[in-house]
Structure formats: C-alpha cells, structure tokens
C-alpha cells in the first residue's frame, strides 16, 4: 500500500500563494512584486491584503529583478513572481549581478515550470531554470513536490537570508505530504525506504516516483524514493548514504537533463561513489503544446518510464 495518500489534488502555485500570504502576515518586511501575472502566480490575496507592500511592475521582468534587489537595501524581503522561464532565462544577468553576486535577500518565485504547464507550449515551458540558477554562486534552489510542501517552503525561505530560487507548477497535482510539515532547506527527504535502487525525484515527479516504487515492488525490486526538494545545496550525505545501500540510482525531474538534478547527482556519485544510474528528464528537446499528462508521456516522464529506468539501473548493477 502507498504510504502517501492524495488528500485532494491542488496546484503547487496555490501553495506558494498561501505561503506568501502567511509569511506576509508574520513579517511586515516581506514585499512582493509581479510582472502582470498576479492571478497566475496566486499572489492576488497578498496584493489585496497588503496593497502598500505589493508592486505591479508590468511586463518588465528585468526591471522587477533590479527593483527587488534595491528593496533589500532598506531591509525588505522581496518575493518576485512570474513564470519559470521569465524568472530565469529572461533575466539571467540581472539575477547574476544585482542579486546573486551582490548576495541580496531576494526570493525569485517561479510558477509554470516544466512541461506540465501544458497548452501554452515551449515558449512558456521552463525546462532549463534549475540549471541556470544552480550555476550561480550564493543561490539556493528549491523545488517542492506538492501544495503543502510548496506552502511550507515559501514560509521557510521567508526566514532564510540570501538569494533563493523557488520553483513550482501550474496543474492540479496530488497533495500528499503532511499539512504543516516543517520544511528544512537543504535536507533531502527519504519518502520510502528500499534496498535495491534509489529513486531521486524533485517537484511533481516525486509523486510519480512513489507510484513507480509501488510497481517495482510487484516486480520484486525494493526502491528507496528520496525527495530532493533542495537542489542546491544538495544533501550529499543523505544521497550518498542511500546509494551506498542500494548501489544504483534513477533521477526523475521535469527539467532538461543537461543542467538538471540527474546531472547534479551524477557529478556527486562520480566524485564519491560511482554507480549505475539512469536519468528521467527531458533530453535536449523543447516542449510543445498538449495536456500535462500527454506531455509527461511524450517526454518519457511518466510512471512506467521511471519503472523501466529503475529496472535498467538495477540490472546494470547486477551485470
């Protein structure tokens, strides 16, 4: 039986919206900026409750990042909101110089990450964002797995000093982690223990990985599922402990393989404990229009893909 039950699917962006509102109530230094996507980012309640602390920047993301950096000078804690693509690639140099290099306490909050954005297609599907952000010194990169965890992560980054990239998505998605579970930045979560293969997943893919583990059990393979909700800094200790036990690994992410979680883990294993590894990720392709579930299938990010990858990693270990 699944240890994790879906308490009712909700979008992770709404978890962000609730977390932001709660953080804003707790700390009046928290301010928010949005580039004409207040509703999409679920920042509207914050904007209504704290109109003086909310800044509509218009469709001008570069300016938004600069203003956010400036607001920290004066002790404010700015949360910027737009889609993952426009939160990173579009404004990379602004983030690099004015936020990361300058070590400013800006929280870059990015919705509609990955292919599950759906019908808008490749122009809006951020698949390179985590890679771009994790290359920047000083940057913390967080990718929570469901509504509850995104809410908790939002509250956690509000109390954390330093630049943070927080990634979440658009679709309604199973909500399965406990309400009000503490979010510990930099701590990987062992979701289910196992002995034969480690599955490291992030974001929406954690749910798929848990289902894959169920299917693997029926094949006689005991999978350990670990939620890497903090991409940077990576919890190397937990990750290495797991593969020392299982001896092989699968990564699963709704992101480009180049620059993604899988590449990060492979680098960690190569330096510390080389093992067979398979990667579930988008492989050097742009996304396209479609329904989220269709796109997950098309780009081989679905539950059967993870199962297949785990079987392969497991067999490579034996071979």
């Amino acid at each position: 039986m699944m240890r994790f039950n879906n308490a009712g699917s909700r979008d992770t962006r709404s978890g962000f919206g609730e977390g932001l509102l709660e953080a804003g109530r707790q700390n009046q230094d928290i301010v928010a900026l949005c580039a004409d996507l207040t509703g999409s980012l679920k920042m509207d309640q914050f904007a209504r409750e704290f109109p003086d602390r909310f800044f509509q920047v218009g469709i001008a993301e570069a300016n938004m990042m600069g203003i956010a950096a400036g607001l920290t000078i004066g002790g404010k804690i700015p949360f910027t909101g737009t889609f993952a693509n426009f939160s990173t690639g579009r404004v990379y140099d602004q983030i690099r110089q004015s936020i990361a290099y300058s070590a400013k306490n800006v929280k870059i909050c990015a919705s509609h990450a990955g292919v599950t954005l759906g019908e808008d297609g490749a122009t809006h599907q951020g698949l390179e964002d985590m890679g771009l952000m994790r290359m920047l010194p000083n940057m913390t990169v967080i990718s929570p797995c469901d509504f509850n965890q995104t809410r908790a992560a939002t509250l956690a980054i509000a109390k954390f000093k330093g630049p943070v990239y927080l990634r979440f998505g658009r679709p309604k998605w199973p909500n399965f982690t406990p309400v009000n579970e503490e979010f510990i930045i930099g701590k990987a979560q062992v979701m289910t223990e196992g002995n034969d293969v480690s599955i490291f997943a992030t974001g929406h893919m954690v749910w798929n990985a848990l289902h894959a583990a169920e299917a693997l059990l029926e094949k006689g393979i005991s999978a350990e599922v670990i939620n890497i909700h903090t991409i940077k800094p990576l919890d190397e200790k937990t990750v290495l402990q797991s593969v020392h036990k299982t001896g092989c690994a699968v990564s699963a992410e709704e992101h480009m393989r180049n620059g993604g979680l899988g590449e990060l883990l492979a680098q960690t294993f190569t330096r510390n404990h080389p093992i067979p590894m398979e990667m579930i990720a988008v492989n050097d392709l742009f996304g396209e229009s479609g329904k989220p579930e269709e796109l997950l299938r098309k780009f081989n990010l679905d539950i059967p893909d993870i199962v297949q990858a785990a079987v392969k990693a497991f067999s490579r270990k034996k071979g």
Partner: protein
C-alpha cells in the same frame, strides 16, 4: 561646509587619483570618471554628506547613491576614499589581485560605500528605484541618487525603469545621466541616436533638469534645485552635460579615452595639467 573652490580642488585631486589608479593597474576607464569627477565630488561633499563611520548596506536614515555605469569605478572609489570611507592608500590596489577595489564595484569584498554590484549596464536605475521604494515603506525621508551613462540608455531595462518610476510616483529619486555623448565605439549618436533625450524622459513623466556637469557652481546649484523638486509626485532626472576626459586637454571629448590606460608619458603630461591639491595617495 565646503566652498566652490574647495569642491573644485577635491575634484582636481579625484582626477589625479583616477589617472594614477588606472595607470597603476594598466587597465580601467579614465574618460567617464574624469567627466563625472565634479558631479561625484559635489554629491558626496556638498549634497548628501553621508557619515562614512555609520555605513551599512541597508542605508536606513541616510541618502543613498548607486552607480549604474560601474566602469566609472575609479572615480567613485577616489571620492569614497577622499570622503573618508577608507584610506586613500587603498586606491593603489585598484584592479589588483585581492583588492576590495574590483574593476567594477562589488559588495563581495565588503568595501564601505558600495551597496550593490554594477558593471553590466542598464541595471542601476531599477536598483535605485527599489531602494527608494524601501525608503518610502520605512518612512525614511532621505533621498536616493543614481548615475547612468548616456550610452547605457541603449539597454532596454532603463526604459522599463523610467516607466515604472513615473507610474509609481517614485518622487524620492534623483537620477543623473552622464550626457557626454561618447561611448566605447564613438559618438553615441553614431552608435545609436538618442534623439531628443530631454523630451523622451519628460514624456515618460519625469521632471528633467539640465546641468553643466563640469561647472561646480552649476552642479551644486542644480542638485539643490533637484532636491526641491522631490516629493512632488515625480522622479527627477538631471541631464549632466559633461565632457569625457574633462580636466586634461588631450583627453577631453575624445571617446578613445573611454577605457584605455595612459602610458607613462601620457600620465606625466596629464598630471602636469592637474594640481596636486590634497596630496597624492
């Protein structure tokens, strides 16, 4: 209280510092900072008069300055040192390994007076707007100043920032454009014509004032006038009509001096035109 003559003497020494720093590093920019030496001197020694000992990154309770055209670093560092943020002897480390005086301003090394990194162009006005908004939220009556280059206006982010500041009535902000008409590759109007800059910025909703940027009387007077226009629902823009390389005849108005260090002979000739008013570092 500094007289105009005092301020002119400081600016002359700042020009000497710029030339010696860039010569000492065999790299850096002299033309822009020499053109802005009068403005930067007036801003610190007359207009803002901040307390260097009380410096914090947050800058609560004091006027703030942001240098968007970060390649004017030598000029800013000289003014900061001459004003008392750090010892003038540190100017000799400019652009050298281990220095707090990075090629372009940075916060990572903890140099007092610097609150954000700049150098990649087009970002400073947005930052200044953010700092000005924070001052409003903190009910801090102090002002925020920002210096931009005219060539820098080719970066689109500036125009996003110009729109925002007027639209959100950021009226505790005084920005200045170093309107010397020169950039690395030549006259700005040949690289990318700015057109009627004053009309453009005014049409965005800013109060625009013109300033003879190398006339200390006019610089101090225009900065006072700009302060008077703050708090009236509009951001204020000063168009500083300056001369790149001002102070040394063979450098003045010559875009070739944007980013080239003087050789030994050129340094000697240049320093011969600038009296050592406060003592070299």
């Amino acid at each position: 209280m500094h007289t105009i003559k005092d301020l002119e003497n400081i600016a002359t020494q700042v020009r000497r510092d710029i030339l010696r720093m860039v010569h000492g590093a065999s790299s850096g920019h002299v033309g822009g900072p020499m053109g802005c030496a009068d403005f930067l001197t007036a801003l610190y020694f007359d207009t803002m008069q901040p307390d260097p000992a009380a410096f914090t990154i947050d800058g609560k309770g004091e006027d703030l300055f942001f240098l968007s055209n970060g390649h004017l670093s030598a000029g800013w560092y000289s003014v900061l040192a001459r004003y008392g943020y750090f010892k003038t002897s540190e100017l000799a480390t400019f652009r050298k390994l281990g220095s707090r005086l990075q090629g372009h301003p940075a916060t990572a090394e903890g140099l007092p007076g610097i609150r954000i990194s700049s150098g990649s162009l087009g970002q400073g006005l947005s930052v200044a707007i953010g700092a000005a908004l924070a001052k409003k939220l903190n009910q801090d009556e102090h002002l925020v100043y920002c210096l931009l280059g005219d060539g820098e206006l080719e970066e689109g982010q500036n125009w996003e920032a110009l729109m925002f500041a007027a639209g959100h009535k950021v009226d505790n902000l005084i920005a200045t454009i170093d309107y010397n008409g020169k950039q690395i590759e030549g006259p700005v109007d040949e690289v990318m014509p700015l057109g009627d800059l004053e009309a453009k910025i005014a049409s965005f909703g800013w109060k625009v004032l013109n300033m003879m940027g190398n006339d200390m009387n006019d610089v101090t007077a225009t900065l006072k006038k700009a302060q008077w226009f703050t708090g009236q629902g509009q951001p204020v823009m000063l168009l500083a009509h300056t001369h790149m390389g001002s102070g040394v005849d063979f450098m003045t108005d010559n875009h070739e001096w944007h980013g080239v260090p003087p050789n030994d002979d050129q340094l000697a000739r240049a320093l011969g035109q600038l009296e050592e008013t406060l003592g070299d570092y």
